[in-house]
Symmetry: D2
Subunit: 242 residues, 4 copies
């Protein structure tokens, strides 16, 4: 990799790591999990939101190709191939919820939390306008997030006693995504030519990761409502209390 590209990736990684730091250090959800929370409802709530936004990933990824005005390119091909590969991954989140004992229909009938809706809307927006390569900034962190969230997943496994067959979304993705992460990196190397390209990719990386952090906050608010026995759309998760 030429030095200048390596420098650009270093900048990108610093930005990503700083953003992860902000989220991991400030998220009450992360603090609860790392602090030994044994309540599976917290995990279930996060899986539900994962189901909701993951449903749109293949679609907004495909939209990048649909909105491409130029000639065919490896990037356009990547967008469509990647979309096809990602389609239906939300079913793993649904499967994990089912394994926990949750009725999938309760999940599919639920509405995304506000910040989940915000992330979904943002991903469509950056897929249909602006720098054509900018969505790679989302893929860049999403496909390589397992190092950052490893301790959280470990906490969920250990403290809540979640079996592997109820963590397929995260376990399978950790495997699949190593390959995807390499492809995303190669695609960035291939497409990012100008400082504006790198900046657009970095910007979407930062904003989409920040918005994902806000989903954790929404999840924790709803979790607290359940804990306090307040009015909630998620009381069906109370069957998870042991």
């Amino acid at each position: 990799m030429p030095t200048t590209i390596q420098t650009q990736f270093d900048t990108l990684n610093q930005r990503m790591n700083a953003c992860w730091r902000r989220i991991l250090d400030n998220s009450p959800l992360v603090a609860a999990v790392l602090g030994g929370c044994t309540d599976r409802r917290l995990y279930a709530l996060y899986l539900i939101e994962t189901f909701h936004y993951t449903r749109h990933n293949a679609k907004n990824q495909a939209l990048v190709a649909v909105c491409n005005d130029g000639q065919h390119s490896p990037y356009l091909q990547f967008c469509l191939r990647h979309a096809a590969d990602e389609a239906g991954h939300e079913l793993m989140a649904l499967h994990d919820l089912k394994t926990l004992g949750i009725n999938p229909e309760d999940v599919t009938a639920s509405q995304p939390m506000p910040n989940t809706d915000v992330l979904i809307g943002y991903l469509y927006w950056i897929s249909v306008q602006g720098n054509p390569f900018q969505r790679l900034g989302y893929s860049y962190w999403a496909e390589s997030c397992y190092e950052a969230i490893g301790p959280v997943l470990q906490g969920i496994k250990t403290h809540m006693g979640i079996p592997p067959q109820a963590m397929t979304f995260f376990i399978d993705h950790a495997t699949i995504d190593t390959k995807h992460a390499e492809m995303v990196q190669q695609m960035i190397e291939l497409t990012a030519k100008t400082p504006a390209d790198w900046q657009a990719i970095g910007r979407v990386l930062d904003t989409s990761l920040t918005l994902t952090g806000r989903i954790l906050d929404d999840v924790y608010i709803e979790y607290e409502k359940l804990v306090k026995g307040q009015n909630s759309a998620y009381t069906y998760l109370n069957t998870l209390i042991k």
Copy 2:
């Protein structure tokens, strides 16, 4: 107005007021303005973001009509009429910046701040999917915000000494929007039939207002960079320092 509709509007207003309260009580920008900040760069930064998101309001409003699958209706007519009425209002923000001495081309060449982009993307998203009436939740607070932000505008006027001819966006809208606010209220009365309709409207009200509050936060972060002489894309505003 029948009691049940009045009750629904009361709920909507409580939600709106609580959201405003959260923003006004926690925004460092609001605190600075009410605390007597005399630095016009703060106002200019907010006008720049106002320019950016206002450019999209007519478009996402029109999209609601474009995506309407059903027969013609007063609501569809309202969406198109309202879009035509709102088009070009961003030019008032640009005019105000010009009056302050800012080169409009610096503004039009600037990129929206991340949270401005997030609001814009969200408004397109809720305009193309979900409950067809939900965008009224955005109009509801946007067309009636002058009571809530009155003290802030007063602070800008008094402490920064901004003349009326550099506040046309806010002054003119305060007038225009009284009429619009009534139309929006009537439209909600006409369209919101089910609890789900009211909930969708309330949800978009809450989320879009919260996202607007986050724009204030972005603006304040950029303002602090300018104050500290840090690296910034907005140094062209330093000519506003008296």
Copy 3:
């Protein structure tokens, strides 16, 4: 009007007139009407298709503004204003059908004929991509078509004995559209700067008018089925036989 612009309009008018000539000279529907056809089912069939494509005119017109990437402009304003003005005009066609004794629900439940679908799809397509001014080519002939189709409307009135209150779509539009036609012409004068602009406008004029001619052909084919008592989705129009 400067000479060069006048020359461009002359070229546009020649293209439009040649296209009308082709349609009027070759359409079996036109021949039937001018030849004294007294069967109101032929008129009703055309009104049904008019209802179908007119429903989309305000929407695809608004889309031109939504897809506009640039700054505000009189053209963008025109698109939104014109969309608002055109919205709901399909209800006049529905009203005329009702006046003739047709149940509006039969009409709204019907599917557009294939060539009507083709015109609708084409108008959305030219509204979302290509030369931003090209949709004016559709408005140009649509708002000034009453001279060309005058004899056909006269034939419908005379031979079929259709009263004015069942011809409101065409009568009202003939009046409204004189004003619209002027606005469209002014907008072309304002926006068409390059030969490519004029060519794009001329191309859409020609293609959309040709596709409209094909709707007449579809209508006539369905009419013949009714006359021959063949299998048809429009047998509900047989109540119009006197």
Copy 4:
């Protein structure tokens, strides 16, 4: 295959064959080729239009998945996979033109002919609205067209002396598409449940094939201009005259 499904496919095939019959019997282009036309410009013109509409096939195919509102399904997966498979196939048409000695930039800079634009617009339209399975009607004939157009391709090869390396688009597709045709048939078997589904598929089959026939007519009109030495945007093809 159950009898009722076989019957539905029989109806579909009859409709397709009747449509092919109409095109093959009436197209002056087909008559010229079968009549022994040796002029490669005719083939080149058709390849140019093939390049233009093929560029959009992957995009409108992907759009079907993007616009899908429901849960994940084999059909949604098929749409994305098929889109990824079809992407870039227009480059084969470009390659064939290059092999003939045509500058690819002349081709990519050219505008589609009117009826090519109409087909492209129609395919987007039926991909974003209406029956979600209806685009299968386009794939159904497109992936199995080699029997119907075999004699035409044979004529091109024999009379014009086109070598296989300048016919890769058609030769490769004939092979690829046998597999695709099976997948399309299976997908129709899987998705088409109601008479309305079958009718929507048949309707799109019929209309999109008819529109493709009109492209042949446009091509022949431009060919005749070249033959007569009239004003034409395609004079760069005259280098093909031996």
